[in-house]
Amino acid sequence: MVELLLTTTVLLTVPLLLATLGEIVTERAGVLNIGIEGVMLFGAFAAAGVIQLGPGRPVAVLAAAALGAALGVLLAVLFVARRVNQIVGGVLFNLFALGLTTVLFDRYFDAGATGSVFGKLALPLLSDLPVVGPALFDQPLLAYLSVVLAGLVWWLLTRTWFGLHLRAAGERPRALDSAGVSVGGIRTAALAVGCALVALGGAALVVLQSGAFTPNITEGRGFIALGIVLVARWSPWWALPAVALFGLAESVKFQASTFGLESVPPEFLAMLPYLVAIVTVTVGTAARYPAALGVPYVRE
C-alpha cells in the first residue's frame, strides 16, 4: 500500500520536477515565465504527435525538448528583445497555446488513441530494497534522468561561467552589462534551456502517465510548478523534496480510499497544492527573490 503510494508519487512527480527545474533556470535569470503552462502543453502535444507519427517514444521526448527550446527563443523575443510585460505576455501565451493545441488536436489526432507509456527499468540490487526499492529504483528511465537533470541544473547554475552570468542577469543585470556580457543573450539562452526542460515535463505527462494527448492535459500543473519554485527557494536540490511533497498530495488524491480518506471529497484534496502554494507565497515573503525578477533590462 505504502509502496504503491510511493511508486505513483514518483511517477506524478517527474513532470512537475522537470517543469520546476525549467522555471528555476528562467527565474534565476530574471524572467518570470507565467507561460510555463503553455510551454508544458506544447511539450505534451509534440510528444504525443511524434509518437502518433511513429518514430517512437525516445524521439518524441527529444522532439518535445527541441520544441520547448524554440518556444523559449520565441518568448525571449517577446520578453527580452521587445520588453513585453512578462505577466500579460505569459497569460496570453497560455491562451494561445491552449487554443492552438486543441484546434490541431481536433484535426490531426485520433481522439480515442490510447498510447503506451515507457516501460520500467529496475536498477539491480537497489530495486530489491524493501518498500522504497520498487518505488525509487524500479521506474522508467526518464524518472532517473529527471533527478540527474536536477543535479545538472545545479551544476550549470553554480559551477559554470554561464551559470554565474545567468544569476547575475537575475540579480544585477547592470553589473553584468558593465562586465561586457549581453544581458539579453544570457536571458535568451536561459529561456531556451528552461523552456526545453518545461516542455520535457509536458512530454513526461504523456510518456509516463496517459500515453496520449488530451486537450488541456496539463490542467494547471505548470502553475503548480510556479508555486513549487517558491517553496524550493529557486534551488534545484530543494526542488526534489518540494516536488515530492506536491506529488504525494496528488497521489493521495488517487488512492484516497486506501487511506480511509473517502470522506474527504476529491475536490478538496485537489485544492491542496494550490493552498500550499498560497500559504508559501504568503508566509515566505522574506524569501530572497532574484532581485531583477520580472524587470526587463534597459540600458541607460
Binding site: I34, R83, N85, I87, V91, F96, T102, A270, M271, I278
Partner: protein, 351 residues
Amino acid sequence: MRRLGSLADWRQRLDWRYLARLLASLALTLLLVGLIFDLAGADPVAAFEALIRGSLGNPLGVEQTIELGAILVLAGLAVTIPARASLWNIGGEGQIFAGALAAASVALKVTGPDPAIVMLLALLAGLLAGAAVAAVAGALRALTGANEVLTTLMLNFVIALLTFYAITNWFPAAGIRGSTPEIPRDVELPTLLGGDITSGVLLALACVVAAHVLLTRTRLGLTIRAVGANPEAARHNGIRLGSVYTVSFAIGGAFAGLAGAIVVLGIDGLLARDFSPGYGFVGIAVALLARSRPLLVVPAAALFSIVTVGGSYLESAVGLSADVALVIQGTLLLLLLALWVIPPQRAAGVR
C-alpha cells in the same frame, strides 16, 4: 504627471509610425491566423467569413455577441481597477466562479421572499462573493507583501474546485450531469424589451460608467491612481497603501462576481461546471487592449466577443474547434504587444 488619454497624447500617438505598427500587427495577425486555419484544414477565407457571419451576420449571433460582450466588459473592469493601482488581478476567473456559485446558491436555496427580491439578493451575493475572494489577495498583499499575481492565480483553482464540489454535492441535478438544476424562471434576470437579450447587459454598461466616474471623479479613484503612479510618493502623502490594495482588489472582484451572477441568472439559467471557457483570462486581454480605461473596455470587449462567438460558429461552419478563438485573441494581443502598439509599461518587478 502625464495626462493619459488627453488629446495631445492621442495626436502624439497617432503618428505614422504608430499607424504603420498597428496595421502591421493586424496584417500579421490575419496572416498567422490564416496559416493556422489552413494548417487545421479549413479554407482561411471561408473561415474568416464564417467568423463574422456567426457573430454579426444573424440575429442569434448578434444576441450572443452582446450578451458575451457584457460578461467580458465586467471581466475587463475586474482587471482594470486594480491595474490602475499597479496591481495585477490574474484571478478574474476564480472571482467569476465565486460570483456564479453564490448567485446560484441564493437563487436555488432562498425561497421565502418575492422572486424579484431573491433575484436582487442573488446578484448582490455574486457581487460580494467576487469582492471577497479578490479582497483576500489584496489583503494578503497588504499584510505580508504576498505577490498578488501568484495568489490570484492559485485562488482561481481553489474556487473552481470548490464550485465543482458544490455542483455535485449541494445541488445534485436530476438529469443533467455537471450542472445545477435550472433556476426558477421568475428568479432569472428579465430580458430587454421583451426580446431575448438579458438586462444584465444594462448592468454591465452601468458598471462601465460607475468605474469611469470612480476613477476620474472621486477621491478614492484619485487615491488609487496616485498609488498606481508612484506608491512611495503616495505613502509619504499619508495614503495607506494596504487599504488601497485591498479596496481596489475588492472593487475589481465585485465586477467579476457580478459577471458570474449574470451568466447564471441571465444567460445560462443554471450553474454548469464548464460555464466559463476562461472569461477571467480573456478579461486581462480586454483590459490590456483598453489600456485600463473603463470607457475603452466596451469596444475592446466587443472585439473579443465577436471573435469568441464567431469562433464557436466555426465548429459547425468549417469544422474547427471553438478554441480557435483563443488562438486569434492570443495572436492579436501578442503582436500588438510585440510591435509596441501597446507600448511596454514602466518596469514593474515581481515584488
